[in-house]
Symmetry: C2
Subunit: 399 residues, 2 copies
């Protein structure tokens, strides 16, 4: 139930020794037919070699792609000119083994920054990955791209376009360094629909904007973030202007599932929290405030401590750099399928029972809702809490 | 060695029961002579009642002040109209007990947000604080303003102006919610120099800009931050245009000492780290990047883990929203009184021994230096690491 769910895609995940643990660390996804492709990449000024490589390739041509090679355990970032030549070595061998030119192969890397890519290990891994390619390989591939993730993230959507069944499959990884605009996360989406590159790009951008761009684990943004989609047309169904909305809905829905899975598996995370801001002047201001709250360590430790300390949430909102009148602000918290509980009512503490507020914060998933009372702008992000485990995981990541 | 070091100032710190622990929680600082005053306040949109009160008072008049009342354990923030009327109640009684009009009394509060100020407890505390005022009360006052601080923060500078000895004393508190532009921190500076309000304001702003505005513990910014200075002229020396630079130097130096003390006592902090960025287009861009690095949880947990994972530092720099060419960037780390160690050399990893880098990160205090290779802009911030204790302290602050 992953990238191999659509027709014509095979995948494999092998252990090639980049990770000392011996866990799977090399994924290969290949298509029986040439694919159109689109990608959304990190906006970090420091871009990893695979990101630079893919961006150059996709700027030149957006069709004819055959495979994606993804390694975990090493980001191939901050590796200088050698980093880029290592990517060429990898795509050259992958292309040779698959029987396609090197420039039909895309790449992603995730892991430690600043360490040269162990190309020999990846070469040896590819020699085993190519014969291992299978239609059942989706889960192994999803496992092979994990770093501090505790579980693979996969999803599938099926729909019918013009009477023809079409499938979209996806896998993602990411647990730390997650922040809007694509922080240490990789996602690969495949589909057997036929989609021309311009439509594919538009579909992907809209889906990412409503999903991966709305999640924040720790506010850090990585050098490697990539979301890519491959469309091989094997289903025989073509996505045209008329069927685009239907495909968009399914693609966005899948991306939201994968994005939320990343937050729920956030490093050390115990909670999934939706921060929703409304009544802002514009959706952009609402989004800015929601993100600012989502990156506040004080707010996130209060989530962890199940402490409905709404003052910290308001203090974070107030320091986002957006002007508002604190006497017009209200704040609610809400558990799924329950009415919201008002904690702060236009500038003053509301009357509520502390135990009731605490019960909401004890849920594995809840919503914080802020109304600024200024206008119609509304937006939200999904985030998680900041726990002891986050510190443990990141205090000793390389050791 | 605190706010009572300058002539004509007395202080007291008492326990009035705001803190359940029974620790000191009410400080009173009074001057035998009327003072000129200046303040720098939080830029948070959510401003606590005492901040609003002081700002109104200082906008109206900047001389004739007699005392400052500071309570810890309750921030009197997000408390609605009641919060402001509670401040009036406090200044009214303090003025009455001291024999001055209420509007000669300034106030500060720090602690939990959103809980009404326990005015009765503060009233009872003032009844005991006024008779307890003494020239030895500076340390008790410094202790009474602590929240999650583990130690009081005090300092003194002595200088000679026009042949007359002058003293500057100060106390500060703050451990969490610390970020540039005055996050959960309070500081009160006293001096027996005579300084007119305009000069006093200029002196304070310049000193704060070089000290309190350069520290970051967790990137959170509070509703209550206040740095205030009182000048009572008791020494007989007047600060004029000629002696301003001398006074500025001493004042800035004292503020830097207090600001660094806040970072070193940051919630759960085990390291004091200077993040210095040079080679930026402008000092503002350098400052922006330095601050962005200082608020990255991934960077701060790496400091905690004594892991010289410079890739995270570069990734944080690259996502600050400032454009630069990653191939021109270099990065060093440096232990005090030692030459810097080059880790990243214009886009590529440098040759160095991992043990050497780790030894620098094991120091209680070190510097990270980044050169962007773009221009002459340089700036820095002081920050600390992010530890398990930070999470413990903030996961259960109110319980």
């Amino acid at each position: 139930m992953s990238v191999t769910a659509p027709q014509g895609f095979r995948a494999a995940g092998v252990a090639c020794g980049i990770k000392n643990s011996g866990a799977l660390d090399l994924a290969l996804v290949a298509s029986a037919r040439p694919c159109t492709a689109a990608g959304v990449f990190t906006t970090n000024q420091i871009k990893a070699a695979p990101v630079r490589y893919d961006q150059v390739l996709l700027a030149r041509r957006r069709a004819g792609f055959r495979a994606v090679v993804i390694n975990s355990g090493n980001a191939n970032a901050c590796t200088g000119p050698k980093g880029l030549s290592d990517v060429y070595s990898v795509t050259e061998l992958a292309g040779f083994l698959l029987g396609f030119p090197p420039d039909t192969i895309l790449v992603m890397s995730t892991g430690v920054i600043g360490v040269p890519l162990p190309v020999d290990k990846i070469r040896a891994g590819l020699m085993r990955a190519v014969p291992a390619l299978s239609e059942e390989g989706g889960e192994a591939a999803a496992r092979a791209i994990m770093t501090t993730d505790t579980r693979p993230k996969m999803g599938v959507r099926r729909l019918t376009l013009h009477g023809v069944p079409v499938t979209i499959g996806g896998m993602a990884k990411g647990a730390g360094m997650i922040h809007p605009h694509m922080a240490t996360m990789l996602a690969l989406i495949t589909t057997d629909a036929e989609i021309d590159p311009d439509h594919l790009e538009a579909l992907l951008r809209a889906a990412v904007d409503a999903s991966f761009h709305r999640i924040s684990v720790d506010g850090d943004q990585s050098t490697n973030d990539t979301v890519m989609i491959l469309a091989n047309g094997a289903s025989g169904a073509r996505v045209d202007e008329r069927s685009m909305p239907l495909f968009q809905e399914a693609l966005t829905d899948l991306c939201i599932e994968l994005a939320k899975a990343i937050v729920q598996d956030g490093e050390g995370a115990t909670k999934l929290v939706e921060i929703r801001v409304r009544g802002a002047r514009t959706p952009e201001e609402a989004r800015w405030i929601a993100r600012h709250i989502a990156r506040s360590p004080l707010v996130k430790t209060a989530f962890y401590g199940e402490d409905p300390n709404w003052g910290r949430i308001l203090a974070a909102a107030g320091s986002a750099g957006v002007t508002f009148d604190s006497d017009a602000v209200s704040l609610w918290i809400q558990r799924e399928n329950e009415p919201p509980l008002l904690l702060f009512d236009r500038g003053s503490p509301a009357f509520y029972f502390e135990e009731e507020a605490r019960r909401i914060f004890q849920a594995p998933s809840f919503r914080v809702l802020i109304d600024l009372g200024l206008g119609e702008g509304e937006n939200w992000v999904w985030t998680c809490d900041l726990s002891h485990d986050y510190v443990s995981i990141n205090g000793s990541y390389r050791t």
